[in-house]
C-alpha cells in the first residue's frame, strides 16, 4: 500500500533564483498527484526534493507521518523515473530492469525466479518483452523511456516519482501508456507524484494536481476543478489547447443589470455572471475568459455575439483552429475542418454565457458567485 506524503512550506533557492517558494501539499495514500507547469515552474526541483537529491532551504517533508529530510536518497527508497532514461549502457534491457532488485540492500528480498517473473510481467505490460536481450544503444528513444519506467515499476517501492515519464513517446503509445500507467498505479495502490508540462496527461491520469508557476503553487484540485473552476488566469491558461482566450472588458451596471463590454462586444450578464461580478471592486478592470472549444463560429456576421474577421484558418485533421481578429485582438476557435474559412472572411462568434469565466484583471483572480 502507498504512503501519505506531505510537503510543508518548502522553499528552495539556487543562488539568487528561487526555484520553489513556500510549497505545500499532501498526497493521500494511493493517490496519483500531478505537478503541472511549464519548464522552469519548479516541477523537477520538487521531485528532486522529495527524492532527496536536493535539500530544501526551508520546510518539512513527511512520508508516512515521519520527517524524511534527514534520510539520504537510497534510504528513502522511492522509485524514480527520469525523462532522460538514465540506463546502464553495458547492461541489457532485462539486466537494467532487474538492477534495482539485485541492489545489495535488497539482495535478500527477491529470489532469482521472482526477479525473472517481475521483469517479464513488467516488460509485457510496457510492450518491451521482445527487447529484453537488447542493449540501450539498440533502442529508440521511446523504447529507452519504457525501459526506464520498467526499472522503476519492478520494485515494491512505496512511492513513485515520475518526471515527464512519457514525454518522448509517439502519439499512439502515449495514449496507451497513459491508460496502462494509471491502471497499474491504481492496481498497485502506490502513492505517485507525476511531474509533467502536458495538461492532457494530468486530465487523463491524475486524481489531483498542483498547478505550478515560477515555483509557486497556484491551485490544487482535481483536473475537473482546475478546468471548470480555475482560481486565476494562470490556472485557466495552463489547462486546455489552444489556451483559453482572454478579452479585456469593462463592467457597467445599468439599472441593476450588469453588462460586460470590450472592443467589439457588449454582453448582458446572466444571473451567474452577475453574482460573480459583485465581487469585483467598483472601477476595477476585468477580463473575460472563453475557451476555444466553447465558441461557435458563424459565417453570418449578425448571428453571433461578437463580430470579427478571420486572421488565419488552420485545419489540423478532424478539426481546425480558426483565429479571428476582434478589433485587433486575436481569438482562437476550435471548429470543424469543413468550416474552411479564408483570411479576411467576416464572421461572428457565439458562446454560452454559462461557460465563460471572468477575472479581476489587476489581480488575475477568478470571480465566482
Amino acid at each position: 500500500m502507498g504512503i501519505e506524503l506531505t510537503l510543508e512550506g518548502i522553499t528552495k533557492t539556487y543562488g539568487k533564483v528561487t526555484a520553489v517558494s513556500d510549497l505545500g501539499f499532501t498526497v493521500k495514500p494511493g493517490e496519483l498527484f500531478a505537478l503541472l507547469g511549464p519548464s522552469g515552474a519548479g516541477k523537477s526541483t520538487t521531485v528532486n526534493l522529495i527524492a532527496g537529491i536536493e535539500k530544501p532551504d526551508k520546510g518539512e517533508i513527511r512520508a508516512g507521518g515521519r520527517s524524511i529530510l534527514a534520510l539520504r536518497p537510497q534510504e528513502r527508497d522511492f522509485a524514480m523515473v527520469f525523462e532522460s532514461y538514465a540506463l546502464y549502457p553495458h547492461l541489457t534491457v532485462a539486466e537494467n530492469m532487474a538492477f534495482p532488485l539485485r541492489a545489495p540492500v535488497r539482495a535478500t528480498r527477491y529470489s532469482s525466479a521472482d526477479i525473472q517473473k517481475r521483469v517479464a510481467e513488467t516488460a509485457r505490460m510496457l510492450e518491451i518483452h521482445e527487447l529484453l536481450a537488447r542493449y540501450p544503444k539498440e533502442l529508440s528513444g521511446g523504447q529507452k523511456q519504457r525501459v526506464g519506467l520498467g526499472r522503476a515499476l519492478v520494485r515494491d517501492s512505496q512511492l513513485f516519482l515520475l518526471d515527464e515519464p512519457i514525454a518522448h513517446l509517439d502519439a499512439k503509445l502515449r495514449h496507451h501508456m497513459r491508460g496502462e500507467l494509471k491502471k497499474l498505479q491504481k492496481k498497485s495502490g502506490r502513492t505517485t507524484v507525476l511531474a509533467t508540462p502536458d495538461y492532457a496527461e494530468v486530465v487523463a491520469m491524475a486524481d489531483r494536481a498542483a498547478v505550478l508557476n515560477h515555483g509557486v503553487s497556484e491551485q490544487i484540485g482535481t483536473p475537473i476543478e482546475l478546468f471548470s473552476r480555475p482560481a486565476n488566469v494562470v490556472v485557466a491558461q495552463a489547462i486546455g489547447d489552444p489556451p483559453i482566450n482572454l478579452l479585456n472588458c469593462e463592467v457597467a451596471n445599468r439599472d441593476g443589470c450588469f453588462y460586460i463590454s470590450g472592443a467589439g462586444f457588449s454582453l448582458q450578464c446572466n444571473d451567474r455572471l452577475q453574482a460573480a461580478l459583485r465581487h469585483l471592486p467598483v472601477g476595477a478592470a476585468a477580463s473575460l475568459g472563453i475557451r476555444p472549444s466553447e465558441i461557435s463560429i458563424h459565417r453570418d456576421p449578425a448571428q453571433g455575439l461578437i463580430r470579427g474577421e478571420v486572421y488565419v484558418f488552420e485545419p489540423l485533421g478532424g478539426e481546425a483552429v480558426a483565429t479571428v481578429s476582434v478589433e485587433g485582438k486575436l481569438v482562437k476557435v476550435l471548429c470543424s475542418w469543413s468550416s474552411s474559412l479564408k483570411i479576411g472572411d467576416k464572421v461572428s462568434l457565439s458562446f454560452d454565457l454559462d461557460t465563460v469565466h471572468v477575472f479581476n484583471r489587476d489581480t488575475g483572480r477568478a470571480l465566482y458567485a
Binding site: 511549464p38 519548464s39 502519439a171 499512439k172 495514449h175 496507451h176 497513459r178 491508460g179 496502462e180 494509471k182 491502471k183 495538461y199 492532457a200 486530465v203 487523463a204 483536473p223 478546468f227 489547462i239 486546455g240 489547447d241 489552444p242 489556451p243 472549444s293 486572421y311 488565419v312 488552420e314 485545419p315 489540423l316 485533421g317 478532424g318 483552429v321 483565429t323 476550435l334 475542418w337 483570411i343
Partner: protein, 380 residues
C-alpha cells in the same frame, strides 16, 4: 511567375545512396507546399536542390519555366530560412535584416524603408536595435524570415523553421507564417516532419518516404483519401487504426469484409460498395479507421442497442482516458486493440461493452500486400 517543376529529378549521394528518386512535382505560383516525412525521407535534399545547395544528379528542375540545374544559388531568385536561424549574433536585428541589401550595395535610405516595411509585417519594429544574441527563439526566427523576405525573391524555402520552438510559440508562429505567406503570395516550399504543421499551413503537401513521394495533394485529400498505409499512418493524430480483414465480393455487387475470428463482419451494398475500386477482386485487406471516426452507440451500464446495420460492432473497453477537448477509449475489437475518440463528457470504465459504429464514408481499405488504398479516388 514562380512555379517550380521537378521533372524526373534524382539525388544520389556517392554511388548508390538514393536520397530522392524520380521526383515529379509541380508547385504553382503563390502556392504553399510542404514536404512532409520522417528523417531521412529526402525532404531536405529536395529543398536544398531548389536552393542550389545540392547538385541535381539526374532530371530537370525548373523555376518559372527556366531550367536551373546549373544556375548558381545566388542567381536562382530564391530565399531560404534555416532551422538554426544563421543570424550574425553581434549585429542588430536591423543590420541582420538589411544584410542582403547592404551586400548588394543598395541605397541606405532605400534599405531603411524596406527594413521598416518588412519589420512591421513581422511585428519586429520594436526590436530593430536589439542584438541578435539577445533575442528570444521566436524573435530570432522572425528576424531570419524578415531577412529572407527582404530580397523580394520569388521563391521562399524553409527547412523546419519552427520545429525547436516550444509548443505555445510554435502554434502561434505557425499561424503567423501561414498568414504572412497568403498575404505576400510568395511561392513557398516548407520542409517539416510535423504533420500538424503541414496540415495547418499548406495548400498542398507531398508526403515522402525513402526518397519517394507517396502522395501529393491538399490536406483534405491526404487526410480523407490517403493513397496508401504510409500516408494514412503519417497524417492524423492519434493515427488511424488498422484491422486485418478479408474482402469478398459476391455476384450481386455486394462486398463482405470480415476478420478471421468472429465479431467483425461487415456487408456493404450499393453506394458503399461502389466506393471500392472495382479492379480489386478480393483478398487480404486492412480496414482503416481513424479514432475520431468511430461513433459510440452503447455506453457504460447501458444495454448496447441491437443494431440492424452490420457496420456496428461490439468492443470491450480496456482503458478510458479523460480529456478536456476529447476523451479516448482503448477498446478490444475482436483480438485487436483500437483507439476511439469520444466526447469529453462521455464516461466509461474498464470492462464496459460499447457498440462502435462506423459511418459509411469514414473507413478506408488497403491491399494488405501492396499497402495501397483500394478506395476509388473521389473528386474533392
Amino acid at each position: 511567375m514562380a512555379e517550380i517543376a521537378f521533372r524526373g529529378v534524382w539525388k544520389v549521394y556517392g554511388k548508390s545512396v538514393e536520397a530522392v528518386k524520380d521526383m515529379n512535382l509541380q508547385v504553382k505560383d503563390g502556392e504553399f507546399v510542404s514536404l512532409l516525412g520522417p528523417s531521412g525521407c529526402g525532404k531536405s535534399s529536395t529543398l536544398r536542390m531548389i536552393a542550389g545547395l545540392e547538385e541535381i544528379t539526374r532530371g530537370d528542375l525548373e523555376i518559372g519555366g527556366r531550367r536551373i540545374n546549373e544556375v548558381e544559388p545566388g542567381d536562382r531568385d530564391v530565399a531560404m530560412v534555416f532551422e538554426n536561424y544563421a543570424l550574425f549574433p553581434h549585429m542588430s536585428s536591423f543590420d541582420n535584416i538589411a544584410f542582403p541589401l547592404t551586400l548588394r550595395g543598395e541605397d541606405r535610405g532605400e534599405i531603411r524603408r524596406k527594413v521598416e516595411e518588412i519589420s512591421k509585417l513581422l511585428d519586429l519594429d520594436g526590436l530593430l536595435k536589439t542584438l541578435a544574441v539577445n533575442l528570444g527563439g521566436g524573435e530570432k526566427q522572425r528576424v531570419g524570415i524578415a531577412r529572407a523576405l527582404i530580397r523580394k525573391s520569388s521563391v521562399l524555402l524553409m527547412d523546419e523553421p519552427i520545429s525547436h520552438l516550444d509548443a505555445d510559440l510554435r502554434a502561434r508562429t505557425r499561424g503567423e507564417l501561414a498568414r504572412l505567406q497568403r498575404l505576400l503570395g510568395i511561392t513557398t516550399v516548407y520542409v517539416t516532419h510535423d504533420q500538424l504543421e503541414a496540415l495547418a499551413m499548406s495548400d498542398r503537401i507531398a508526403v515522402m518516404n525513402l526518397g519517394v513521394v507517396q502522395q501529393y495533394g491538399t490536406p483534405d485529400q491526404l487526410y480523407n483519401q490517403p493513397a496508401n498505409m504510409f500516408v494514412a499512418r503519417f497524417i492524423g493524430e492519434p493515427p488511424m487504426n488498422f484491422i486485418p480483414c478479408t474482402l469478398e465480393r459476391n455476384g450481386s455487387g455486394r462486398v463482405r469484409i470480415f476478420t478471421g475470428g468472429r465479431g467483425f463482419d461487415v456487408e456493404l451494398g450499393g453506394e458503399q460498395a461502389a466506393r471500392i475500386d472495382p479492379g480489386f477482386r478480393g483478398g487480404e485487406v486492412f480496414f482503416g479507421i481513424r479514432p475520431i471516426d468511430f461513433e459510440i452507440a452503447g455506453g457504460a451500464n447501458m444495454q448496447a442497442r441491437p443494431s440492424s446495420s452490420k457496420s456496428a460492432v461490439k468492443a470491450g473497453v480496456l482503458n478510458y482516458e479523460a480529456g478536456c477537448e476529447h476523451s479516448f477509449l482503448e477498446a478490444k475489437l475482436c483480438e485487436y486493440t483500437v483507439l476511439v475518440e469520444c466526447a469529453p463528457t462521455a464516461r466509461f470504465s474498464e470492462g464496459d461493452t460499447v457498440t462502435l459504429e462506423v459511418a459509411a464514408n469514414r473507413f478506408h481499405l488497403f491491399d494488405r500486400r501492396s499497402e495501397a488504398s483500394i478506395m476509388k479516388v473521389e473528386a474533392r
